[in-house]
């Protein structure tokens, strides 16, 4: 009887640790999904890989950090300030660096985007030094306990997952129902035809960058609430992984970003917990390569035939 009880407890422990890994995976995945949305929308419309997106995340986190810690602003206004700053930055980057290259080969656009990413990282390093800042969570460090305290879910996780769900629903409504959203979908389908129908393509692309960058700010704040070290290079790795997530789910597809992000987050946390901490990044990238080779358009993407 005692042995059976012990065994149950042991299995229950395993089950609980599995559950808590799963929950933190979903939470990390939600952050990836929010970042991936920025990539996927920009890629869908401008057909370019915005490498600087990850660094916009970092800028958003820094703005929020300074607003809270240096100017003692309350949390919600500082997050809104970060969103506004990133939106402006995203539109500015698009106008300055990407717009002149609208008809250039994709290699040139990609290299420009990498240059932009480097520019942001190095400016941040000069402005704010490379010393890591300790970001205090915007929702506090408390947690909700379940199963007599054997499973605890932190407020960070709850807020992150909720934010992800809200953003997804709003975006789905926005792209499906509103005039601007329809214009976006039209542009991503065929830019020339959209222009002929009277859609302002340039404004639509700017709008996409604005939305993507605003989401990047939210993601930056959430990311640094969970992983509190803030450095000029904070955004680059999550940025690359979120792009991986976007590709995984099928680039250009909003539900794909959600699916890819969540799966990638869970894979990463499980790889860390059950395989090896050192190899988790390698495993995540291996997943990307395998997905691209087996299903080049991603899980929910549409395979487009190349036309001659």
């Amino acid at each position: 009887m005692l042995a059976a009880l012990l065994r149950f407890n042991f299995l229950g422990g395993l089950y609980m640790s599995f559950l808590s890994h799963l929950i933190s995976g979903v939470s990390l995945g939600s952050i990836y999904a929010i970042i991936a949305l920025g990539y996927t929308m920009v890629y869908g419309i401008a057909k370019m890989l915005n490498f600087a997106h990850g660094d916009v995340i970092m800028v958003g986190a820094y703005v929020c950090f300074f607003a809270v810690s240096r100017y003692d602003m309350p949390v919600i206004p500082s997050v809104l300030l970060a969103v506004a700053a990133c939106t402006a930055l995203g539109v500015f980057i698009e106008r300055l660096a990407y717009k002149p290259l609208r008809s250039a080969p994709s290699l040139a656009v990609l290299i420009t985007a990498i240059g932009m990413s480097y520019f942001l990282q190095n400016s941040a390093q000069l402005l704010w030094t490379s010393n890591p800042k300790v970001f205090s969570s915007v929702v506090g460090n408390g947690s909700v306990k379940f199963f007599d305290g054997r499973l605890s879910i932190s407020y960070n996780v709850i807020v992150t997952v909720l934010a992800c769900i809200i953003i997804m629903s709003v975006l789905t409504w926005f792209t499906g129902r509103t005039k601007m959203g329809k214009a976006m979908r039209a542009c991503s389908e065929d830019k020339d035809a959209a222009q002929l129908m009277g859609i302002n393509v340039n404004a639509t692309i700017s709008m996409t960058f604005a939305i993507g960058s605003a989401l990047a700010a939210v993601a930056g704040v959430l990311l640094c609430s969970v992983y509190p070290t803030l450095m000029p290079t904070t955004g680059s790795m999550p940025g690359i992984k979120a792009f991986t997530a976007a590709v995984f789910g099928g680039i250009g597809s909003i539900p794909g970003a959600l699916l890819g992000g969540t799966l990638l987050g869970v894979i990463e946390i499980f790889a860390k917990a059950y395989i090896s901490t050192q190899l988790s990044d390698a495993i995540v990238f291996l997943v990307l390569i395998i997905v691209l080779l087996v299903k080049p358009a991603g899980l929910l993407g549409k395979q487009v035939q190349e036309k001659v």
Binding site: P100, P105, S106, L288, I289
Partner: protein
């Protein structure tokens, strides 16, 4: 004498490198060169080889590779292991370095081949992101690797610790996981670097001006058209990619054996980007441009002290400006407009 344009170009490139080598040797002999710069000479050669080999992938083949430092890493680590373990077999230092570079090149080309077969099926942005991923995977794997040597030969271990190698007494740990390699014999010399640069130029320029090179460039310009006239896509893509990886491996071995310690994180994404900057600034597809850009951009920060903080920032800005100026229709039209205006003025 009626030389072909490609021949003239090749002669110019070789002469450029030889003259630079002779001038640098003269400066060393007369003592007119700072000690820091003198220590940089072999790494400069390694960077030149990296830039030229990346130019083969990006400029000639037209596929953006963001994981070039990964091949350098493979070459560096395998080359050093070869050189350390062969210390008693080959006493002659330059020969040992050559063997190290050969081992580095063959390991890197093997990795390039296995990465290339699946990855080169993708194109454009996807290929770029997958090469980036491969670079990160290589970095991660090398960080987890332990290699040691004793009288029984080489011992390998993965993801454990140096003690798992079970070396006997007197055995030596060569690669110590995240700590990398320490106590590397300093075999690299400027002369060896110069020879590797010449060899690289010889390989790349002969490849570019051959039937295979023209096929590769045809793939870059229009894959579908090239395929339709019977050019095997995978074969030529792989040829360029593997050659590029092999040369990067040799450069990695040269680079590592100039320093006493080398860690895997040195060959990260930033290094790949740095080399990409050399290639882009030197001109995509322009071989001697890569040579000049790599040399100048490594020497320049040494010359301008205090500029070092702003170096990467300036690189980033220059990268963006070069891309916009060379690819925007409005900027492209400036030279022709200027020419027209000048001609108009001279006519009046």
């Amino acid at each position: 004498m009626n030389l072909q344009k490609s021949t003239l170009n090749a002669v110019f490139t070789y002469t450029l490198v030889v003259v630079a080598f002779v001038v640098a040797q003269g400066l060393i002999k007369s003592g007119n060169i700072s000690s820091t710069l003198r220590g940089q000479l072999a790494p400069i050669c390694a960077y030149i080889v990296m830039a030229v080999s990346l130019n083969l992938t990006v400029g000639i083949l037209g596929e953006l590779s963001l994981g070039h430092a990964g091949f350098m890493s493979v070459g560096a680590f395998s080359g050093v292991v070869a050189c350390v373990s062969l210390a008693n077999v080959i006493p002659l230092e330059p020969l040992r370095l050559v063997v190290g570079m050969l081992v580095g090149a063959s390991c890197a080309s093997a990795v390039g081949f296995f990465i290339g077969i699946p990855v080169l099926r993708l194109g454009g942005d996807y290929l770029a992101i997958v090469t980036l991923a491969c670079g990160e995977i290589i970095k991660n794997l090398v960080t987890c690797m332990y290699v040691g040597m004793d009288s029984h030969g080489l011992h390998f271990s993965f993801l454990t610790s140096a003690s798992a190698l079970q070396l006997e007494k007197g055995g030596k740990v060569i690669i110590n996981g995240p700590m990398g390699i320490a106590g590397i014999p300093k075999l690299s010399t400027f002369t060896m670097g110069f020879m590797l640069v010449m060899f690289t130029l010889f390989i790349v320029m002969n490849l570019v001006n051959s039937r295979a090179g023209r096929a590769i460039m045809a793939l870059r310009d229009n894959r579908i058209a090239a395929e339709s006239v019977g050019i095997p896509v995978t074969k030529y893509k792989l040829m360029a990619f593997v050659t590029s990886a092999a040369l990067a491996g040799a450069a990695g071995a040269l680079y590592a054996m100039n320093f006493s310690t080398v860690v895997a994180t040195k060959f990260n994404f930033n290094t790949s980007i740095l080399i990409l900057v050399y290639v882009v600034l030197g001109g995509l597809g322009n071989i001697w441009g890569s040579v000049v850009a790599a040399a100048v951009l490594t020497v320049l920060p040494e010359m301008l002290r205090g500029f070092n903080d702003y170096r990467m920032l300036v690189y980033a800005v220059v990268l963006i400006i070069v891309m916009i100026v060379t690819n925007n229709a409005r900027f492209k039209a400036i030279p022709t407009r200027l020419k027209k205006r000048l001609r108009g003025a001279s006519n009046v």
